[in-house]
Amino acid sequence: MADGTIEHTTCLGCGCACDDIAVVTRGGQIVEARNACPLGVDWFGKGTIPARIRSGDGPRDADLASAIAAAAARLRSASRPLVYLAADLSCESQRAAIAVADMLHALLDTLTGTTASAGILAAQRRGRASASLGEIRNRADIVLFWGTDPATRYPRYTSRYAPEPAGLYLPKGRAGRTVIAVDIGTDRGPADADVRVTVAPADEITALALIRAALLGRALPSPGADTLDARTSALADRLRAGHYVAIVADAEASEGRDVRRSDGLLSLAEALNGPTRCALSTLRAGGNRSGADAMLTAQTGYPMAVDFARGVPRYRPNAGAAQLLAGGAIDVALLVGSAHSVPPALRGPLGKIPCVAIGPRASESPIPTAVAIDTGVAGIHEGGTAFRLDDIPLPLRPALAPPNDTVLVLRALAAAIAAEARAA
């Protein structure tokens, strides 16, 4: 593509999906990603990616048609194939990949299965009081950060959504809001919080339950001065006094955290909607992860860990990619998206089976591949749609051209598999 500036580009460096980036290119490289935070600048990088097609062990590149044919043959001959959706795929690519999994009667899983499943499973049991980020920006007068400071992993959350910007109903912006940080061990809330509450990691679930109990009028009578009870009931009083409370938490699992935390946060947000209004905002990492959840849900009814082995989608949140790979059940894998985003725990077992990789830098995959087709990064080289962490869909405006287009490669793969199936 020609040198120039693409305005209103959406960054997928994290789930914030800021759509105000101006990407400047010169000589086929990105030289500036204006408005992006350091994490975003890093994610855009120069935009230079390999453009190779590898099939088998030969030193030379294969042509696309024969690589696709080889991939189709591998996948068709599998007895227990896995289709794994990694990061940096547009919704359109994700939809095309799900179609391939459906045809192959494969196990289909995504990054969500290993990183953010606890919150999804809890919300499926209990529901979820939530809001789009703009509602929080315009309305939330209390913003509670539960054991998270977005500064490192979601850098522009605070400046674009809350608490900093002025909102339609909060003309004074940050000054019109109360920021509460709940520090849980080393997981601390923002440094500039107006109110700080400290909770020991071992007490986290109890604390959530106590705040909820206090809101529901079930608090213990006259708690001692600095007991957990006293701190949580004071916090409950503050929250109840808010007009619109946003609770912000990180949905991507941090190790050692109690999985009951998700349920506790959902219950708390629900209980707050008795006396006042409240929305839970959960932070998701980059590369269009929420999009994968949404596309799987639309096409199969389930947001992750879908097993097509019996010819129909079955939900297997406890027997997804991580479990089946570890158990040695999978014999061939189709890895779509950035192989570099695959969680470390999956890399070992994936390395032991034939892998077809279609995605950005597939030819430089840290996981050995039988077939590798380099495509582009959604949002940098490929267009389409991505979802923000609150499920708001955004258009992608690629600044550079992809070596191969993921959607087209996946469609060709589907056609090749269908043709083989028909011939058989």
Binding site: H8, A131, Q299, V312
Partner: protein
């Protein structure tokens, strides 16, 4: 050139005054034509019933809120896995991958398209799309095969619009509506609980009258919103001017609110949706009764007013609505799981899975009110069939609903078995003899919705119409008859053959793009820059 003659069927085409006449329907390249050569391919429909394809005027199939609901009910999907259909090879070698999926009250996208077509429905409108999520709706519709589709855009609680009302800048509203419909590829304006969703966000949970101020602005009231949007939609000459979900859904005594809303826009074309949920007499906290008679009387006097019923059927449902306050009430009353999503400066979304029980006094009344609306209806062209899928029941219950309307003995048998507590004095309990004819069924499921939606190419079998046709094997068991059409033709393609889904072509999208003064864009962009989290430039689909 592809041709097909559907020969010798008994045709019900009310828009063209055909009520059970034996005749041939000729199809050429997706359109109905007057004649075909004698040797054209022929489908023998002797003894069968031929109708235009069904049109669902109000369903929830492809909104972001629908996908959120889908995610909420994995247990329903587990119980209703859907195999990929056994599709025939496409003549032009085009690859159509048959897709598996899951059902329940909120089926997956492909399964939704297949199942609608399997029921003889060929056109479906999603009734509630938050504008900021329209891109998602169109993607879901792209994956909903066979049926033609469109969507209604939620505007009754839109912050920009409410600000124009507050400022008295009503002249801007028409341009804004036109811009918005084009930007979202929408088909019509939807109003849900006007002002009430904004109030819910402000923690005001009840709309007492249509003159309650919204956001503390005396000029911004449910009535003002209804007036402004109805006037704008009619001035724009939209094919389907305005689709209204009134305030106070599901609350006893709300028939007064509904009638007040109808009177507010009297004299202008307006469609009131799922009126069953808005036709209760009685008093909050005290009593429930049917208000269907009052609605029927109003409709008899007002030919410009149309409605769909939103029938409740006993069994599982999933309530999905922009009416967040209502869903919170429902959640606190049934204790079930609850989702709420406040959508920035536009609307809201609430979801509660629900099971309607014939032993529940309120559910039994709801069932009766819906049937009364049909049976007391002064005009089948203006009181058309819906279950507000999946709110009152899923679309798969349409055949049984048709059975209830066509067969008094069947209906009275069911009526006996339900909770009678609130049925005292109800017209249905007193006995209604009316039975819908096949011609009237064709009106409330095809011709009527097409006319209300302004779809001139659909809902009839005249020359030039889209070749969307359903052929049923006649059966006295109307549930069975309407659940299993023998043939379904969509846009000239035979999609159901001998009761089996065999082809899954891509449906068309229906949208409008009314003209407007482009000056509005500057003002809207300024509002976006200040308050929205999505760039104006990234908003239009």
């Amino acid at each position: 050139m592809t041709t097909l003659r559907i020969a010798g069927g008994t045709v019900y085409d009310p828009a063209n005054g055909v009520d059970g006449a034996v005749r041939d329907i000729c199809i050429q390249d997706g359109t109905i034509v007057a004649t075909l050569p004698k040797n054209a391919p022929k489908l023998d429909a002797t003894g069968m019933v031929v109708m235009p394809g069904g049109i669902d005027i109000h369903a929830h199939v492809a909104a972001s809120s629908v996908n959120t609901a889908r995610r909420l009910v994995p247990e329903q999907h587990d119980a209703d896995p859907a195999r990929a259909p056994d599709l025939a090879l496409d003549e032009d070698g085009e690859l159509v991958i048959p897709r598996s999926g899951s059902g329940g009250t909120v089926p997956s996208v492909f399964t939704t398209g297949y199942r609608y077509a399997g029921l003889g429905y060929t056109t479906v409108f999603d009734a509630a799309v938050a504008p900021i999520t329209a891109r998602d709706t169109h993607a879901q519709l792209d994956d909903t095969p066979i049926v033609d589709a469109g969507c209604f855009i939620l505007l009754g609680n839109d912050a920009y619009l409410l600000r124009q009302l507050a400022a008295g800048a009503t002249d801007r509203i028409q341009d804004y509506v036109a811009w918005m419909l084009g930007a979202t590829r929408g088909y019509a304006v939807k109003i849900v609980n006007p002002g009430g969703v904004e109030l819910w966000k402000e923690n005001v949970r009840e709309v007492k009258t249509l003159d309650d101020p919204v956001g503390g602005e005396a000029k911004v009231t449910p009535r003002a919103i209804l007036e402004a949007l109805t006037t704008a939609a009619n001035a724009l000459k939209l094919p389907h001017p305005v689709h209204i979900h009134c305030n106070n859904l599901g609350i006893p005594g709300n028939v007064a609110t509904t009638l007040d809303s109808m009177r507010t826009v009297a004299g202008q074309r307006a469609h009131f949706t799922h009126v069953q949920f808005h036709s209760y007499a009685g008093e909050r906290g005290k009593s429930w009764a049917s208000g269907a008679k009052q609605i029927a009387e109003y409709l008899a006097q007002h030919p410009e007013t149309t409605c769909d019923v939103g029938q409740v059927m006993f069994g599982p449902a999933c309530t999905i609505t922009a009416d967040g306050a209502l869903e919170y009430l429902l959640h606190t009353s049934n204790g079930g799981k609850w989702v709420n999503v406040d959508i920035e400066l536009e609307t809201g979304c609430g979801i509660v899975p629900f099971n309607y029980k014939d032993k529940s006094a309120v559910n039994a009344l709801q069932w009766v009110v819906g049937l009364e609306l049909f049976l007391l209806s002064p005009d089948p062209w203006r009181v058309v069939l819906s279950t507000d899928h999946p709110n009152g029941a899923t679309f798969q219950s349409y055949p049984e609903l048709i059975h209830l309307l066509m067969d008094r003995a069947y209906r009275d048998e069911k009526l006996k078995a339900i909770n009678q507590k609130f049925l005292v004095g109800s017209a249905l309990a007193d006995g209604i003899a009316r039975e819908y004819t096949l011609g009237e069924i064709a009106i409330i499921t095809r011709a009527g919705p097409a006319r209300i939606l302004g779809l001139t190419q659909k809902g009839h079998l005249g020359v030039g119409a889209d070749a969307d046709i359903t052929v049923y094997t006649t059966d006295a068991d109307r549930t069975k008859m309407f659940a299993t059409p023998r043939y379904v033709v969509k846009g000239g393609t035979l999609v159901v053959e001998e009761g089996q889904l065999r082809r899954a072509p891509t449906g068309q999208r229906h949208g409008v793009r009314p003209g407007y003064d482009t000056l509005i864009e500057r003002d809207v962009k300024d509002f976006f820059d200040r308050y929205l989290t999505v760039a104006f430039e990234n908003y239009a689909v």
